[in-house]
Symmetry: C2
Subunit: 360 residues, 2 copies
């Protein structure tokens, strides 16, 4: 096995290169950081010597004086949640193309963990992308005072934000369900600390008003398949014909839970999700959902962060909003489609023990 202890990687420094090239260290430094500041022949010679010696500038040493580490932190609420995959990739790619490295922090849906991790990374990064932060506005502002911060999927005044067009997405859902004959939509809500959760509910409230569709809310539940299954139980107690879930995972859990209790989707109830994660396309029935431009979100937020780091003052003050699109699959259908199906859908068969217990 390689021995990592004795000479723990003795890389050449600018001093080595300087000695070898018969110039001063500062010239070597400039040859790399400000090539215009040094004679092109000298620079070339230095570069060759450096090459020969395998010199690479040490980012840490550089950071010490420039206070630019060329690293950014990307904080996500839960890496287990597939929405973040594309976001992370978008961010990573934007970072790389800007010569930046990404430090990923998984907050595990915990306010406390999130703060602690950021606290530790703070001094090491040039900026932070906060994707679906669970922290309070004031906590975020605190961080924003110390480092450039871009917030994703949340709007906070005085902090640059990029969000998806939730109102428009919800509106499209309401229209779609309305066209299918539904006059009542139940919103299954996610974590209360989640900003889009509130936004979506309010948007639904508003859309309901305009389109003359009644709306109600149940929850909160955790934004997972399991949370959706739990919601199914509650939903069973107060049936609905159309449901909008906070996100796809919950929608999928909902379908599963409902199926288990003998409720048919979309026959008895139409279900809509949010995000269009890959799984939305592989469940049965395929999930109608609002597609968010995940990759673009990560990429846009990161690019914005980089321009801030590079010293651009002007952000508009308004959040940057990204377009969404309704993806219609099989989980939504006309209300009570076939007249022949006259039986009361929700009491077709005895629910399983667990739900029954909750029903009493």
């Amino acid at each position: 096995m390689p021995d990592h202890t004795s000479p723990p990687d003795k890389r050449a420094t600018i001093y080595d290169v300087a000695a070898e090239a018969n110039v001063s260290p500062s010239t070597v430094s400039r040859a790399f950081s400000k090539p215009s500041r040094v004679n092109s022949e000298t620079a070339e010679r230095i570069r060759q010597v450096a090459e020969r010696l395998g010199y690479r500038t040490n980012p840490l040493a550089r950071a010490l004086t420039t206070s630019r580490t060329h690293m950014i932190a990307l904080v996500i609420a839960d890496i287990t949640n597939p929405v973040y995959a594309e976001i992370v990739r978008g961010a990573q790619e934007a970072a790389m193309s800007g010569e930046y490295t990404t430090v990923l922090i998984d907050a595990q849906e915990s306010d406390r963990l999130e703060r602690a991790a950021i606290e530790r990374a703070m001094s090491t990064v040039d900026g932070i992308v906060l994707a679906s932060s669970r922290m309070s506005d004031s906590a975020i502002r605190m961080f924003a005072k110390q480092r450039p911060v871009v917030v994703l999927n949340r709007a906070i005044s005085d902090v640059p934000c990029v969000v998806t067009d939730n109102p428009r997405g919800v509106r499209r859902v309401a229209e779609h369900l309305g066209e299918l004959g539904h006059d009542h939509i139940t919103y299954v809500s996610g974590p209360q600390a989640s900003w889009p959760n509130g936004t979506r509910w309010r948007a639904l409230l508003e859309a309901g008003m305009e389109l003359e569709i009644k709306v109600r809310q149940i929850g909160p539940f955790s934004p997972t398949i399991e949370g959706g299954e739990r919601a199914a139980v509650e939903l069973f107690a107060r049936p609905a014909t159309a449901v909008l879930a906070f996100n796809d995972q919950m929608a999928i859990g909902l379908i599963r839970g409902l199926n288990r209790m003998g409720v048919d989707v979309p026959g008895d109830v139409s279900i809509v999700g949010f995000d269009n994660i890959p799984a939305a396309d592989i469940v049965t029935p395929g999930l109608t959902t609002v597609a968010a431009p995940l990759y673009a979100e990560g990429s846009a937020a990161t690019r914005h962060l980089l321009t801030m780091i590079r010293g651009a003052h002007g952000h508009t003050g308004r959040p940057m909003v990204l377009p969404v699109r309704l993806v219609i699959r099989r989980s939504t259908a006309t209300r009570n489609p076939s007249p022949g199906r006259a039986r009361s859908p929700w009491v077709r068969q005895r629910p399983r023990p667990n739900p029954a217990a909750r029903l009493s």
Copy 2:
């Protein structure tokens, strides 16, 4: 908006604390890094002053002399692949509990990208976890010479590795399918650069030998749902009754593709995946698959890396192997279950245009 340019975060330094506490900077330094080296009262006083001044030791400055950045790199093949979610989380948690920060690198299934990214991060991290690297053995050994490296899901001599028990998993699959009456298993292979791919195929070869089950291989395909769908087309040309796919995503794609062409799973063909990603449980039919201890993999690899960084020489030379477990769901069934179903399963109906084209 906060102004990030003028005083870009003037944190207190050991010098500030030293002046305030009437000691020399070195004492302040020691109060934090080697508390035993300084009088406990003095240390306490220093700590209080530090607290009051909001002092935090600057990891970069520290790293400059100690050459310990307290960061590790976690390199994964494709963040879009859900297997990595749990691995990342396991790694992150192990890192955090060891006071380490994780730099995530997504190689996007590209050898070149992977190398470039590692190259850049190399000098900034104390060690590297390579999860499912697509690089050559020699490239990996090169890196391992410069920094502690732990390889995940791959065995390379002279480099510490942690792998799952692929042979055992495959063996259990073969037994399971054998018990269901299958005497022939087709392996749908993933990327050739993937180590577990080769391992699984060889294990199947061996298991087939012992259990007197014939085996064959098709592929390679990309390890995605789409790759699985493509495989379905090829499989259609040379039917099988039992299939083991390189991973769950391919298995899911396979089921989809087959369904589309009118082939029933598991009625006509049994399908088994690998990894037990969350989606395996939500597809219809539920996917029989080999569950890998994802979280444990990430965690074990990272912990091992940390002990290496801390200077432990002794690794056994043998890869650490983690147990797997067969999860039986609905995608596998007895071969030709109902005698009444006499029709030739694979030609039940006309395939769709695209497959037909490939068939000609």
